[in-house]
Amino acid sequence: MTNDAVAAQSASPTLDVRGLSVAFRRRNGLVRVVRDVDLTLGPGEVLGLVGESGSGKSILARAVLGTLPRQAEVLGGSIAFSGGDLMRMPPSQVRRLRGDRIAIVPQEPMTSLNPSLRIGRQLTEVLEVHRPEIRSKERSVRAVEMLDLVGVTYADERLAQYPHQLSGGLRQRVAIAMALICGRVELLIADEPTTALDVTIQAQILDLFVRLQKSQRMSVLLITHDLGVIAQTAQRVAVMYAGEIVEVADVNDLFASPRHPYTRGLLDSLPRSGRVARKSHLPSIEGSVPSPSAAVRDGCSFADRCAFRIAICDQQAPPLDSAGLGRSVRCHRWADLTAGFARRDALL
């Protein structure tokens, strides 16, 4: 574990999610999409949240933002943010935090920006709502400064443009500028912020994130399905599967020695030159990602796809076990598998 990560955890956390469960109301009952999630994000930390479709990662983010869809219901848990519990605050108070001290950068800047408003108006509106003490002339100046900061060229001319006149990369930069313009962001939630972008643009945006995170001293919750993006950006990683956190670790530890069979399977399945011969079979995880509406099975939610399943995996749900400094794993067999994995890695 890096010194940064240790320091980040020892200070009081920016965000502390405890036992959060969220369900969707459906005709045939409740579908639990986030199940008993604990998550801590320290000041100035970049936490990567990895998961596939339906793993609950975006719903978790929306719970923190207080923007859960109407059919969602929080079954329990708390979300502590700088002393208060977001779950128990009146909605008006959460709204005041959102866009000010908690901000989001969404996946699709085309749908998150208002297509009928000029860029300048969208940026200054955030200030109007959250910083009414700033005078209107000064707001435009602030908007230009912000666009400069996120690397938008010809910033003063851009204020008069509409979102459709910008490229995808520029739109995402504008969305980042909107998230940060109040200048008081403590927690930035980035939900697949580069998934819609080309790789060269993705690299530019990720680089921008890392620089801004340091200069603005924010905590970032980076949600993505892309393990490459996680490896390049995050300090700590939480892996979600079927609504549960199955592994949490420092980024170096996770990639060097994944302990949950799911994490391990995901990492092994990535084509990486030098690790498997060209055109040979890639290791793969059998089966497919469970649909959130499928009945929750007894025992471990990954058991039916797991190559290491034993009898207990079908009977008891494994707890999220502490597995060393800053690590936790939700697997009955992590301790005995770790030894076996280590032997295999030594051969590679």
Binding site: S167, Q202, S280
Partner: protein, 324 residues
């Protein structure tokens, strides 16, 4: 003359503008070979796929398949061609007709090409489904009842049912969950080995391309800017754009964090500048790049590059550091 395709841009104004999506592209493929086409959105790779499968008609250029010029003017000619050249699309949700059962979907190419008599159709469909790792029972289901990975297997079953020689795969795994991608990659590799298939593999995932391709073509604004055997391409890419693509691909290894990105700005679609079309984003551009459009020329056996400075980079060297 290579393949060329221009599209007319529909606008509100009076001036008619065209965009050349594919501009003088030449590709050769051998039996059993995988040629990967990489590049970012708008580079023309999907248009190239449609030209090769004859879903679009080129404005210029010609294609030779199996030593004969490709002609699809009559229904009979089109059938003969499409039996041998099939396509797998990116989105397994949009590419399967939702109100047909899987069995009907897989039987369709067999019926159209009259490859099977009606009594044998059901058992042949079952064989094809099993060849892509699906249970024959799935024939009774509808696409919406299947997972993304299963749907893509059905698409591959449809494409391979006619025993084609070439399958054009347009981003076949990028819409799938990470944990099922490698299953589909393995299936494509198995089919290639068993049926002697050639693949034109369109992808933006360079790590995947490195794993499965024999030859890599890099496209930029409608042109091929580099073409090389895969091993050589990844060991010593020559074009600054290829090098930027490789440098920008996030490596799933935190010990290898890459420095600041290597290219500036973004592609301006449809506006190729005079001279080299990459020069405005290129960290290595010099005076000549603004004057002449560099031709695609050989720098080693089978290794072509369209860059005035392409000869300078025989061995991998670091890019000059850039800030965004």
């Amino acid at each position: 003359m290579g393949l060329r395709k221009r599209y007319r841009l529909r606008g509100v104004g009076t001036a008619v503008r065209h965009i050349t999506a594919v501009d003088d592209v030449s590709i050769q493929m051998s039996v059993g070979e995988t040629v990967a086409v990489v590049g970012e959105s708008g580079c023309g790779k999907s248009t190239l796929a449609k030209l090769i499968t004859q879903l679009e008609t080129p404005d210029a250029g010609e294609m030779v398949f199996d030593r004969r010029p490709v002609r699809v003017r009559t229904r009979r000619e089109r059938l003969a061609f499409s039996r041998n050249v099939q396509m797998v699309f990116q989105d397994p949700y949009g590419s399967l007709t939702p109100h047909f059962r899987v069995g009907t979907l897989v039987a369709e190419p067999l019926r159209i090409h009259r490859l099977e008599t009606r009594p044998r159709l059901v058992s042949r469909v079952a064989e094809v489904l099993e060849s892509v790792g699906l249970d024959a029972e799935i024939a009774k289901r509808f696409p919406h009842e299947l997972s993304g990975g299963q749907r893509q297997r059905v698409s591959i079953a449809r494409a391979s049912a006619t025993r084609p020689q070439l399958i054009v795969c347009d981003e076949p795994v990028s819409a799938l969950d990470v944990s099922v991608r490698s299953q589909i990659v393995n299936l494509l590799l198995d089919l290639q080995r068993d049926l002697g298939l050639s693949y034109l593999f369109i992808s933006h995932d360079l790590a995947l391309v490195d794993h499965i391709a024999d030859v890599v073509c890099v496209m930029y604004l409608g042109r091929i800017v580099e073409q090389a055997p895969a091993r050589e391409f990844f060991a010593a890419p020559r074009h600054p754009y290829s090098r930027a693509l490789i440098a920008s691909s996030p490596v799933p290894d935190p010990r290898r964090r890459s420095p600041a990105p290597a290219v500036l700005g973004a592609v301006e679609l449809g506006v190729a500048p005079a001279g080299c079309r990459f020069r405005k984003r290129c960290p290595l551009a010099v005076a000549i790049c603004a004057e002449n459009d560099p031709p695609l020329h050989a720098v080693a056996a089978g290794h072509l590059v369209a860059c005035h400075r392409g000869n300078e980079f025989g061995v991998p060297t670091a890019f000059p550091e850039q800030s965004v």
